[in-house]
Amino acid sequence: MRKVENALSKQGHDCKKPETVGQWILCHFLLLVGLGLALLFYVLNPNVFSSFGITSILSTASIQGIIALGLMMELTTGNFDLSIGATAGFSAAVLGAIMANASPNWYIPAVFIALAAAVLVGLLNAFITVRIGVPAFVGTMAIRSLLSGAISFLTNNTIFYSNNWGETYKLLGQGKIRNVIPYCCLIFLVICVACYIFLEHTKTGRYIYATGANRSAAKNVGIPVVRMQVLSFAIGALLAGIGGILHSSRNFQTSVQMGIDLQLPAQICCLLGATYKTPGKYNVPGCVVGILLTTIITNGVYGTIGSSIYIKSLVEGLVFMTAIGIIATIRQEGLPKVKFDI
């Protein structure tokens, strides 16, 4: 109908397809900062990106990235998980405990058990959040404490390692293909591609996104929002478990501290990722760029200025604030704000 077409005018803002250079810079801000900082650190210390440096950076990034993707799954349905780091640590602690008492032949079954333990945690989180109705933010905080206690028990409250672990334990975390590409990175790559296809191109992924974006609209079209949330918790926990196992394999230890250390990078990376390309929407490419950025900062700072921890946190905080701040400021012109559904 000509009339309808003429009468209805578009009032929206075209922020999806950046039309000006300025908009392109804002959309890809994260990537540009990452490249910029990498350049800066290289100039300050060309050794920082020696082949050892790069594989080290990429391995750490991969592990943290896997956990970040797990958190992202849960964030996509609108649930903020404060226990994802602890879940990773718990899964690693289970594996470590089993392998301390079993022969190395038991490695593969032990991994399955450890991952199953992680998924159980995810389902427990889902139960508390979806069934009982405790907001995810609060419920997962409680689970985090629970897990801390469990990890403490499994590690005898020490930095736990065992001579019984043997070479198989180290394999995934420290091994490389042809001595170049770390296994961690490969696993991360596979998981990335799988998550991307899942979220963008499958029905279930679309439903998971809809559940978080507008739960009442999702319910109205018959999307099973409960099932979607349970699924997202399960997948998230599974990914956390994988990350935890790889991390303990790389560092050859398990501890309560590991769980604590893994939480913040995952959170920061997901939130930063939501400012990349499709602002306001958690997305896989954003997570990848986010995790690269944070590890460039960490390793770059260590490699150039030394291991002053406060400098690293300072830079991390500044980048975080700037990225989110820019998005929040230009929000008035139409870019949607990042949703933190508590």
């Binding site: 309808v4 578009k10 974006a213 319910k219 109205n220």
Partner: protein, 504 residues
Amino acid sequence: MKQAVLEVKGLTKYFGDVAANKDISLSLDKHEILAIVGENGAGKSTFCKMLTGIYHPDKGSIAVEGEEVRFQTPADSISRGISMVYQERNLVGMLTGAQNICLGHEPCRSGLIDGKGLNSLAEQIKHDLGLSVDLNTPVEQMGAGEQQLIEIMRALRTNPKILILDEPTASLGQGEIEPFLQFIQRIKSEREIAIIFISHKFEEVYEIADKIAVFTDGQNVLFAPSNELTQEMCIDAMLRQDKIKPLIISQTPTKDKQPLLEVEEIHYGGKVHNISVKAYPGEVVGFYGLVGAGRTECMQCLFGLRYSKNIHYIFNGKEITKPKPRQMIQEGMILTPEKRMEGLFRGLSLTDNICNLFLDELLSNRFLKIIDRKKSNAFAEQVLSDNSVKYRNVSQPIISLSGGNMQKIIIGRSVALKGIKLMIIDEPTTGMDIGAKYQVYQKLRTLTQEKNLCIMMVSSELDELFAVCDRLYVFANGDCVDHFERDEFDKKRIVETAVRGRKL
């Protein structure tokens, strides 16, 4: 004999003791548009929620194409051929129009969403309807009218037999309404569909409806083909029986030459609204209008709760340009909010709720700013007895009181403020029983007579305004369109003014 697509008999729904819908009976055929009109709270949306399976009727029956149906969930009603487009948008913002249209039923190919298939499906629907909306941009970037069309396309995707549209033109701009109505008429004639159209705008209703049902107080008081009804008859049906006897207004207030409040126009929401309102001390001024008429927004702008560009009005002889609530209270103006719960501190006690406005005066130690508990409790007790509120203990939680008593507290504490000259109250008696309502009305009249207060009262119940007010302003579409003195009070004229949106 042609079977009606929808046949409703004696449909009744109770919420506690209140009948939200009582004995609703109507029928609808293919290629027909039924318009449901009625005031706010008349039961229109409860009725629709029963048709879509959100509520279960207590009595009566619904029959679709001759077959009686009982819906357990919304999914049941969708599968039985009833689709509804709600007043509030139900879209996923960052997905495109095409993706929203196919949400929940995406075509798949080997496990993955068939993007091309999805787009062509949506294009097909768009083509069938003869529209030309862009389906490839995220819906959050579209205007309200286009978003509405996307939702309608989504509703029509399942080829429903009955389409329900709830106030579809509420979010459309002036130029968008006419094409939209023509579009609805086209769907009606081209498809095997019956349409239910909920609206309070009579012009639209008469333009497109084949049948009209008027809902009043939960009952279907009028149901007939539109060519058998005149607008007069509809408006008559919408008015309720006279249930509230007006209070005896003993004296017409002597109008001081100087108005207490004078405002010409208010700029908010991107538009300039013509208000032209004056208010004098010692009178109750009413503000009537249909839902969405803009009265609450106007009051919020005056008090400083809502941003208004370049607002300026005169209050108590002073020119006000950048009102802020704290400042306005000191000037002598106070506002009680439309939603009762926005005026109270849920988790706190009676004392806290009353005294939070007076903490400066209830300090025992000025320097350390420590609150004197004893003084606070005594003050609270005074306010509570002044307003005849029934309570056990000043420390009991506020939510343990009835709605009526909570309202009395809100009014009572506002009035206890020193130097209050103007009180704006927004829908003061929602959810209160008739006895409690009367107490509020009496209190308001007492305040104007004894304390020479000016009260500006926003209400959607004309009876209430007739009972209490000296004068009445009528709002429509954000503007003030007419003014009635007490001797000019005429229910039909006032409702018609509000409905037509302009002076008669």
